[in-house]
């Protein structure tokens, strides 16, 4: 069982890394974001977009929804951060009925970064779920709620 989870975790990380190096996911002009702006406030890590989707196509979320049939096989949580001031990590914590099921660590790199995590769903996973997107200190950016159905 543990091996399966580790395998799944590795798979998610692999996707995340692959996604980060793909062209277009993080813009080439990312470093220019703060150019010319007064240095009054240090930029903060900001969650620009967070959605649940059935999958990714050309590294963009496909079929944004809050309902996932077991037949679909998995749930994808797509998050885009802009700006990303420095290299950091965020966590996607998955819960089924308040019970923690999975916590996936994603690395973000400046100037902006998009990343995703995916979990597999089976018949035993039917029910209400949520995924919390939090920073390394545990501050929750957003909670996405969804249901796994038959």
């Amino acid at each position: 069982m543990k091996r399966i989870w580790n395998k799944r975790k590795s798979l998610c990380l692999f996707f995340a890394v692959l996604f980060c190096f793909a062209p277009g996911v993080h813009g080439a002009d990312g470093d220019k974001a703060g150019e010319g702006s007064p240095p009054e406030k240090p930029p903060r890590l900001t969650l620009k977009k967070a959605v649940l989707c059935e999958g990714l196509k050309e590294l963009a979320p496909v079929n944004e929804t809050i309902l996932f049939s077991v037949a679909l096989g998995g749930v994808t949580c797509f998050t885009a951060f802009d700006p990303v001031p420095k290299k950091t990590v965020v966590f996607h914590s998955w819960f089924k009925r308040d019970q923690p099921k999975k916590k996936i660590k994603l690395t973000l790199k400046p100037p902006k970064w998009s990343s995703f995590s995916k979990i597999r769903i089976r018949n035993m996973d039917v029910g209400p779920w949520r995924v919390e997107i939090a920073d390394s200190e545990g501050k929750i950016f957003k909670t996405l709620r969804f249901s796994v159905t038959e």
Binding site: N63, S69, D98, P128, T149
Partner: protein, 484 residues
């Protein structure tokens, strides 16, 4: 032994004294009001039957006990029907004070000597006469056509009533106390065969009334000038004035030595009061202090008086089994609603608490004692009360049409606030709706759905829900689009 006696005396409450005194007085009053009547004698008979029935029951004589019980039930009804006149006469014409306190006595003294003198005068002159002296029974049902007279008794009046030219001389005169109540009264005739042939209608009428009532009737024969009295089934010829006076006094309950009589009566009443007290004490003791039986009761435990800000989380027992000891009769009559087990939580602290169940926690009817309680202790988990806000999440079930996709859903309100035990509320993160079936959804819309409160916390949360005015229904708005 002495110690036991002292313990027993100290266990008697002031309410018990009142209980015994009140019922003793009622019994004594019943005796004072009904003594000397047939109803009283029958009541004594019924009481003896009841004692026999109890003895038969304790000896295990089932059939005898049932039979006695039946006889008592029927006899009680019969007493009311048969002795209704006696019962009525006891309560009629008496004020409430007389019923509660006064002693029964003849209201007016009958002038025995005047009546005797008149009777002998009438006999001497061969004037027929019929005089009725009622006993305790009401004669109304047995006599007819009486003419109200209501005159004070005097020799002249009696003689004039029976004077041959008087239109009412043929009927009977009813004398009660010192008054002639009615004249010209028609009495029921006796059908006895053993009456002497010389007795005419007047004698048969006298015998007829005395046979059916407790009245005494005096007859003066017109033909022979003989004086006869009838009482019950006795017919007695009177030879001299003294004999008549004695007969009248005996009938009317007039004693020659009144002070001696009063003294005797006083002693009799005191004995009656003492006997009443002893009977009631005996009954009270057998009912309330008899420890011959044990009965079990399952009683729900009431938890109350928790400190403000404290919440009862759970308990090891919602009900306890009490083994109560007392008399069989008392235990039989007790209903579980009359027993309470109350745990005072004013000393309870947050966390686990253990309380012993003692007599202080019990409210049981007097006369019963606690033999055993199971469990002897109850564990009570208390917690501090907090307020927490919960997001609401829709719980979708079923299958959405394959061509559709549920893009988003929003609940209104999006959050609810609950007040409850810290341990429970801290472990909760989300409140879910009841299951929302997807099969029927064809497009975007709204619906009202109920929230699911976790069953383990239901009592507490419902209480808080009421306190905070929280509604358990939310509106879910959902947006559906076609799958691309």
């Amino acid at each position: 032994m002495l110690q036991k006696l002292l313990i027993f005396i100290s266990s008697i409450r002031w309410q018990d004294f009142i209980d015994i005194a009140f019922n003793s007085y009622i019994l004594f009053r019943l005796y004072a009001l009904f003594r000397g009547t047939d109803a009283f004698r029958v009541l004594v008979g019924i009481a003896l039957l009841w004692i026999l029935q109890r003895m038969a029951m304790s000896m295990g004589l089932i059939l005898t006990s049932w039979m006695m019980e039946g006889i008592i039930a029927v006899a009680a009804l019969i007493v009311i029907v048969v002795f209704r006149i006696e019962i009525r006469s006891v309560f009629r014409a008496r004020n409430i004070w007389a019923i509660l306190w006064g002693l029964p006595r003849k209201p007016m003294k009958t002038p025995v000597e005047i009546i005797t003198e008149s009777v002998f005068n009438l006999a001497k002159r061969r004037i027929g006469a019929l005089m009725v002296l009622p006993g305790k029974e009401d004669l109304e049902e047995f006599v007819q056509q009486g003419i109200p007279w209501d005159g004070r008794v005097s020799a002249e009046m009696i003689e004039s009533i029976f004077w041959p030219n008087n239109p009412v001389h043929d009927g009977a005169a009813v004398i009660d106390g010192n008054r002639v109540l009615e004249v010209g009264v028609i009495l029921p005739l006796s059908h006895r065969k053993d009456l002497p042939s010389v007795y005419g209608t007047r004698h048969r009428a006298a015998a007829g009334l005395s046979e059916t009532t407790d009245a005494m009737v005096i007859v003066v024969s017109e033909e022979r000038g003989a004086i006869t009295i009838t009482r019950g089934f006795d017919v007695l010829t009177i030879d001299g004035k003294k004999q008549l006076v004695n007969a009248l006094r005996e009938h009317l309950g007039i004693r020659e030595n009144q002070s001696r009589f009063l003294k005797r009566r006083k002693i009799e009443l005191r004995i009656a009061a003492l006997v009443s007290l002893l009977i009631v004490s005996g009954v009270w003791f057998s009912i309330s202090r008899g420890l011959d039986a044990i009965k079990t009761f399952d009683i729900p435990v009431e938890y109350a008086n928790q400190k403000p800000g404290m919440e009862l989380l759970n308990t090891s027992a919602t009900s306890v089994r009490l083994f109560l000891q007392g008399s069989r009769a008392l235990l039989k009559s007790i209903r579980p609603e009359q027993i309470r087990v109350k745990m005072d939580l004013d000393k309870a602290v947050a966390g686990a608490n253990t309380f012993s169940i003692t007599n202080k926690n019990l409210s049981i009817p007097p006369g019963l004692s606690l033999k055993e309680v199971r469990p002897m202790v109850v564990d009570v988990n208390m917690d501090t009360r907090i307020k927490k806000s919960f997001p609401i999440q829709a719980d979708w079930v079923g299958k959405l049409s394959s061509g559709l996709i549920l893009v988003r859903a929003k609940t209104e309100p999006s959050k609810v606030e609950l007040i409850g035990p810290k341990t429970i509320l801290e472990g909760m993160r989300t409140l879910y709706t009841t299951r929302i079936p997807l099969n029927s959804i064809k497009g975007s819309g709204k619906m009202d759905v109920k929230l699911v409160i976790p069953s383990a916390f239901l009592p507490v949360l419902i209480l808080k829900r009421v306190e905070t005015g929280f509604k358990d229904t939310v509106e879910v708005a959902y947006e559906v689009s076609k799958r691309k």
